[in-house]
Amino acid sequence: MTQAAKQVRSFRLNGRAHDVLVADNVLLLDTLREALGLTGTKRGCDGGECGACTVLIDGTPRLACLTRTQECDGHSVETIEGLAENGRMSRLQRAFHERLGTQCGYCTPGMVMTAEGLLRRNPDPTEAEIRAALAGNICRCTGYVKIIEAVEDAARGAP
């Protein structure tokens, strides 16, 4: 297999400017996890079906396993690592904790980032809107009810 030529790609990652040297055929998921060490973004189905690798690109939930790093040049990327401030979980993360919205935890970063994208766009969503927003995130533990309650709590300002 021949190697694709690498180029410098610049994007904002969790609010800070980043330059990465990367070939065009490298996925954002691999850049985040392998090159940048941000393993919070999970490799789930690895084929665009489960939502575990959801990150925010320019504030919109996107799948890192279907996105090339090259596409992110000049854009803003946010991962689960960017939510906590000064070691304190964000309100949404705390709501997942308090409401037991996480069990094995593998889907949680993707769930939280998808919910974060929803709440920025729609700070007061109905349950139906939460369900629609999370429709692409699969969880095999919780049965989803606790996840939806966590997002509702975060939207209401509790806990």
Binding site: M1, T2, Q3, A4, A5, A23, D24, N25, V26, L27, D46, G47, G48, E49, G51, T54, T60, P61, R62, L63, C65, L66, T67, R68, Q70, E71, T114, A132, A133, A135, G136, N137, I138
Partner: protein
């Protein structure tokens, strides 16, 4: 899953530059959102030396609604289309079809052009490279036998885009760019009933925009799938139905997920001039069952997809036709 094959990405800013970039690369592929192509490439389905990303071309980027109808750029994302005020207010079937694709993150990336030119799908094709190799590959890619119909001569992989039927029932046209300039043709003429060559585009040609006529007939779209989200359609149906008084004055039905191409149902003229009734719905159901040809390309039985296609068509027609026959058995 496997790594992506080595390729470089071109990002042309004009139609001419995109055509030229494709002409320079014999194995190049056009790409936009990549929600389907990225997965297929990682399955070893294709080995392009270059991807030509069409999203930077201004002509492909906008939805405009005017007296001549709705013009949809091919690089408009499905999320943008589904939320556009002119689409939700005047073309609800198109909004419903766009919303029915995948899940929100797919719709944020996937585009109109990508969904209309979506590769066909089959349980013998959408598999890892080693799985397909162990199975002797298949007629669609690298093999010489269709495992769905081993004695047949063509590929039966099913077209699985949601948007096409909703556009077909509105008599949409498309602009195609290529080495010879831009040409306009009916959307229906884009497709052929061959799972390995279902999109009639020559090398270097790509979709620029979709043009949907003004004053659309009332229309709706529905799909059957195993889960409420993410899944491709087992069958998807769009119906456009115009009434004069209580009589059906115009009827178009289009289907996806059941054949190698999305297609307009033939013979609907025979259903005009009468109101929608249980007997009318029976005739519509029989027409659908006769013309769809689902094969063993999904995990669910082909016969189920045949019946559910008819049931969805009947349900939509009953609602649009004002008949109290929702839930009428196929």
């Amino acid at each position: 899953m496997e790594l992506l094959p080595p390729f470089h990405v071109a990002t042309p800013a004009t139609i001419a530059a995109a055509v030229a970039a494709r002409q320079r690369q014999a194995t190049g592929r056009f790409i936009a959102g990549g929600t389907d192509l990225m997965v297929n490439l990682r399955h070893g389905l294709g080995d392009p030396a270059a991807l030509i990303d069409l999203r930077g071309i201004p002509e492909l980027q906008h939805v405009t609604a005017g007296p001549d109808g709705l013009v949809i750029g091919a690089a408009v994302t499905l999320a943008e289309l589904a939320e556009h005020p002119a689409v939700t207010s005047r073309y609800p079937a198109i909004a419903a079809a766009a919303t029915a694709v995948g899940a929100p993150a797919h719709r944020a990336a996937g585009t109109v052009g990508g969904n209309l030119c979506l590769d066909t799908r089959c349980i013998f094709y959408n598999r890892s490279a080693w799985w397909r190799e162990a199975n002797g590959f298949c007629l669609k890619y690298k093999g010489d036998t269709c495992h769905v119909a081993p004695t047949g001569k063509r590929c039966h992989a099913a077209f699985s885009g949601d948007l096409a039927p909703a556009l077909l029932v509105h008599a949409a046209e498309i602009d195609i760019a290529g080495p010879d300039g831009v040409r306009r043709q009916p959307l229906a003429a884009l497709y052929a009933e061959d799972g390995a060559a279902h999109v009639r585009l020559a090398a270097g040609e790509f979709l620029v925009r979709v043009v949907v006529p003004a004053d659309p007939w009332p229309a709706a779209y529905a799909k059957a799938r195993a889960r409420g989200a993410i899944d491709f359609p087992l069958a998807g149906v769009a119906v456009a139905l115009r009434r004069r008084g209580s009589d059906v004055d115009g009827l178009r039905v289009a289907l996806t997920g059941t054949n190698a191409r999305p297609f307009l149902l033939e013979g609907t003229d025979g259903l005009l001039g009468t109101p929608v009734s249980p007997a009318w719905l029976d005739r519509l159901g029989r027409l659908v069952q006769k013309q769809v040809s689902p094969m063993r390309t999904t995990l669910l039985a082909a016969q189920y997809r045949r019946r559910v296609a008819a049931a969805l068509a009947q349900r939509l027609a009953a609602t649009l036709g004002g008949a109290d026959a929702v839930g009428h058995a196929a």
